[in-house]
């Protein structure tokens, strides 16, 4: 059952939204979502890498021999990751500092490799780009949402702007590591409740 282009895009936003539905790419999800801004920044970086790598992999899918495909994927992905790394250093240095080693670690993010292997290697260029874009946007949404929840409760701010006023005593637990896990777990629970597939 072939999906339309729109369906390919939309599936990444809800049905297969990473990291909730596909439990992949948890590390950056947990690590960089102390604030909305970080979550968004990470998301954008992943979108870029995902779209570019999906495009290139699908372009080259007839040339790449299947035995060395993983190696080829890794080279392609790593290349774009470095591009992101350099560009981010040049134009968004503070973000680069907060995201730290998680930018280079996009290279081992299961989502990117997973999409290359599971989708781009088997589908046409346009589809692959749409798929990558959808997945990337989905990932960004998840990260932003998690970042929003953690920032609002953990620091009482949203994009750095105070939400509850000065009398609010932030629930610091949320921006600490344990809070990240618990929060993600509970959001996953909400997702399961919402989408009784």
């Amino acid at each position: 059952m072939a999906k339309t282009i729109t369906q390919e895009f939309v599936k990444g936003l809800w049905d297969e939204i990473p990291p909730f539905r596909l439990v992949l790419g948890l590390c950056p999800t947990l690590a960089v979502t102390k604030s909305v801004e970080n979550g968004l920044g990470m998301g954008v970086a992943v979108v870029f890498v995902l779209v570019c790598s999906n495009m290139l992999v699908s372009l080259l899918r007839n040339i790449i021999p299947s035995k060395v495909r993983i190696a080829c994927f890794i080279i392609i992905i790593a290349t774009f990751v470095i591009v992101v790394e350099l560009v981010m250093q040049a134009y968004a240095y503070p973000l680069f500092l907060t995201l730290g080693i998680f930018i280079p670690l996009i290279v081992v993010n299961c989502i990117v490799l997973g999409r290359a292997e599971a989708f781009a290697y088997k589908n046409g260029v346009v589809r692959s780009i749409v798929d990558g874009f959808g997945m990337g946007i989905g990932f960004t949404i998840s990260l932003t949402a998690l970042g929003a929840v953690r920032e609002v409760f953990g620091s009482g701010t949203f994009f750095g702007i105070s939400v509850f006023g000065p009398s609010f005593q932030p629930f610091t637990f949320m921006i600490e590591a344990p809070g990240a896990f618990v929060c993600l777990g509970l959001m996953l629970c909400m997702m399961n409740l919402a989408g009784n597939k």
Binding site: Q169, P170, F171, T172, F173, E176, P178, V182, C189
Partner: protein, 329 residues
């Protein structure tokens, strides 16, 4: 739970009898009874806290108990489970949680705390008996790292003017060394003449409650005693290496959450081991960790995190068990 075995036509009788499996006797123990006994044992400590800290303490304790019960009720409703308020475990969670708080704890803190304890700590794991961590300890740990000021008993209880020095011994020890706690006599500490949580300062009351629970067989004595032994031995070792920086066992034993931890927190059923040797290890290492955190960690009191760490290790510890009869290999 009645067996649904079919009855042969010949033997059908008008009267229905209860048919169930052996044994047909039971020793009459019940979860609710256990929990009421725990509440009874905690009563002296709570009463003294109320005498010292007055109405606010009553408020905190009652709000804590009632909100814990309400959370449990709400969860059971939402999850469509049979109501489990009756077993008293939510009430105990609320009560112990309240006992650890300072008397000035704001209402929202109590409510968030009991939510974390009852829902996150216990219910989402499937309710009583399934929680891998002590719910009260989880709640206190989470609140402690979020709102440090409220758990800084020195600052929190500044407005109280009682007939003893309102100093939190462990904070004084941490910041100013052993000389700062010289003024505390063992008697004062046992009588709760120190600053601290509502129900965690009255050493004598807690010990009495603990002994009561041990005698009734409700808590496992191995855990309590080895916890205290772990604290004494570790404190002694530290004290011997540097008597100026590290206090002796008395302060460690009677200040902070030690006693309530030994008798009421570490002994929580579902998060602690049940075999003999694991119980000893569990208690002793928890005691060791407590003193270690107090002396070289960043926290003023280590009981909470020590227990949490040992809760984590408890399933592994429980793998050390005596060989079952006739077990081959």
């Amino acid at each position: 739970m009645v067996d649904n075995n079919t009855v042969d036509n010949n033997t059908v009788d008008k009267k229905k009898f209860i048919v169930s499996h052996a044994p047909f006797w039971h020793d009459g123990s019940r979860i609710s009874l256990r929990n009421y006994n725990i509440a009874l044992a905690a009563l002296p400590a709570i009463l003294l806290g109320i005498i010292y800290y007055g109405i606010p303490a009553v408020g905190v304790i009652s709000l804590s108990i009632s909100s814990a019960i309400i959370w449990e009720f709400v969860f059971c409703r939402i999850a469509k489970r049979s109501n489990t308020i009756g077993d008293g475990s939510a009430a105990i969670i609320g009560m112990l949680f309240g006992m650890l708080l300072p008397a000035i704890a704001p209402w929202w803190l109590v409510i968030i705390g009991t939510f974390v304890a009852v829902i996150i700590g216990k219910q989402i794991y499937g309710g009583i008996g399934a929680n891998p961590f002590n719910p009260v300890v989880v709640a206190i740990a989470i609140l402690m790292i979020s709102w440090k000021d409220i758990f800084d008993f020195n600052e929190a209880l500044m407005n109280y003017d009682l007939d003893f020095v309102m100093v939190y011994p462990l904070a004084a020890l941490k910041h100013f060394g052993v000389s700062a706690v010289d003024s505390f006599s063992m008697g004062d500490l046992l009588m709760g003449k120190q600053s601290g949580g509502i129900g965690s300062t009255f050493g004598l009351g807690l010990i009495a409650g603990g002994i009561y629970l041990i005698i009734r067989g409700i808590i496992r004595w191995e855990i309590s005693l080895s916890f205290l032994a772990g604290i004494i031995i570790t404190a002694l070792i530290f004290n011997l290496t540097d008597p100026v920086r590290y206090a002796g066992p008395v302060i460690h034993l009677f200040a902070g959450y030690t006693l309530i931890g030994a008798f009421f927190l570490a002994t929580e059923d579902s998060s602690s081991p049940v075999n003999f040797i694991p119980m000893l290890i569990y208690g002793a290492v928890a005691g060791f960790m407590t003193v270690l955190i107090r002396n070289i960690g960043v926290y003023i009191d280590g009981v909470i995190f020590a227990i949490l760490i040992m809760n984590l290790v408890s399933p592994l510890l429980d793998k050390i068990r005596p060989k079952a009869i006739g077990k081959v290999a």
